[in-house]
Subunit: 254 residues, 2 copies
DNA sequence: AATCGAAATCATGTATACAATAATTGATTT
DNA sequence: AAATCAATTATTGTATACATGATTTCGATT
């Protein structure tokens, strides 16, 4: 086994990773502009879950024919951001409560894995950058600037994804983060989540610098799940229609 | 935190999960027949990595126009099974050594997670089914029937995915398994892997029955990674062109 | 008046035609 | 003879036209 571990670590240092974009295809991007624009609208919350995506409307909005629109929708469907119902058109994906909890559970695992690997593999520049981002986020906390902290938060986590030196893991985690984004908008606005999140970042950063993989994994998982308080706020922040769409039993249980 | 955990467990028992297909879209399948057929050909190894996927050839082979072919290729691209190079056509995805190791690392984590959750959540019928599958696989081992064992192996793992009671996790794990499938064909044919795999399954099954999540996770990870011996065989079984395609530094390191 | 049914309308799925770009081949020049 | 450039060919990307199936509306019947 050690030969493999060594090989992997050597590869992580020596190889220049062939970068693939989010869709899993090689770097030279085709006409992804439509996909990206729609994706951003969905992630940013401009297109809310359940919103209908009419092909002809989108076509005339973007001044193209239906064909590229259909291709973009197909890609977004594969990413899970839109639902494609046969002969019934596309809508922005609505995720039920059960599915959301499932996705969050996987998200915690993946982010925890990122933390564990990053503790072992992060380079000095990556750690420096992480500290810079963390410092910037502190300013955002004191200023109470939610938007600024949101951006710092994204940068913090994505830096750790990169530092895991597992490009596939980084992509998968980012994809899942984006897919959950429409349901996380107001998360940081809950009670004391801003400073809470900041303190958790602080502990995670310390674990990474100490190269303590187990601690980094545990702290990161806690940061994302109930122990960090994030999950409760997340549930609380769910829009009514998400909860209502779920199974009656689930609502009763909640 | 406990309220959430309880809610989640209650949900896992009470809710009837809205099933989504592998592409992340709701159950009523559109004309996925093309995607499925191509996917099977790729997973089964009939279409080898690097093989060119000409749209017109595929169109006349399946007796349809290029449009549905393009849609199928786009979906397969999003799944990572084919590479879509702009203006240069589609090929069956070639995965470099580094990326393969990355994917395997994530695969081990996801399967480990499935094991951990299944230990806590598997129902009696699921465990019974798992034992049946395991018994059938024993016959395959004594008979030295690789194909039969391969099928049992898939059934064993997929049953555990389901038993994790996290449908999203199950889907993601299965997707990744399929994506790695073209590179795992000859894996079981290596030296004593057949009985080795069987014994590992035995230990995993015991951990699941004992509801020992930590053990199930650890054993499952070991089953997939170097400790189980699978990784070494996997590396050894890699076709030359995969290794050659990698970065020279990687080859030197290996 | 309400509900069921049928027809019409509209949106999606597929095919085909056209445009644009990359690959290939051939010719010319050094 | 080899290499480079240009022109042709072939394949991908986009638009549009047509077909199929779902939804909605209007009418008739209970």
């Amino acid at each position: 086994m050690y030969t493999i571990i060594d090989l992997k670590n050597i590869l992580n240092v020596l190889t220049y990773t062939q970068s693939t974009d989010g869709a899993g295809q090689m770097s030279p991007k085709r006409n992804d502009t439509l996909k990206v624009k729609l994706e951003r609208d969905i992630i940013a919350g401009l297109l809310k879950p359940g919103a209908r995506l009419d092909e002809v409307s989108l076509a005339e909005r973007f001044q193209v024919s239906r064909t590229p629109i259909r291709e973009a929708l197909l890609q977004l469907s594969s990413m899970g951001l839109v639902q494609l119902r046969p002969r019934r058109g596309a809508v922005v994906a609505e995720i039920g409560l059960k599915e959301l909890l499932d996705m969050f559970e996987v998200m915690a695992e993946l982010e925890g894995m990122c933390g564990r690997l990053a503790a072992r593999r992060a380079t000095k520049p990556e750690l420096d950058h992480l500290q810079d981002v963390h410092a910037a986020s502190e300013d955002a906390v004191t200023a109470g600037d939610y938007d600024a902290y949101y951006r710092c938060n994204v940068a913090f986590h994505e830096t750790i994804y990169q530092a895991s030196r597992n490009l596939f893991l980084a992509e998968q985690t980012m994809k899942l983060r984006n897919r959950l984004a429409p349901y996380r908008r107001s998360q940081l606005h809950q009670n004391g989540r801003l400073s809470g999140s900041f303190n958790e970042h602080k502990a995670i950063l310390a674990a990474l610098i100490a190269q303590d993989g187990a601690a980094a994994e545990r702290l990161m998982q806690g940061h994302l799940t109930a122990q960090g308080g994030s999950m409760n706020d997340f549930i609380a922040s769910l829009p009514d229609d998400v909860l209502n769409r779920s199974d009656p039993a689930a609502v009763a249980a909640g």
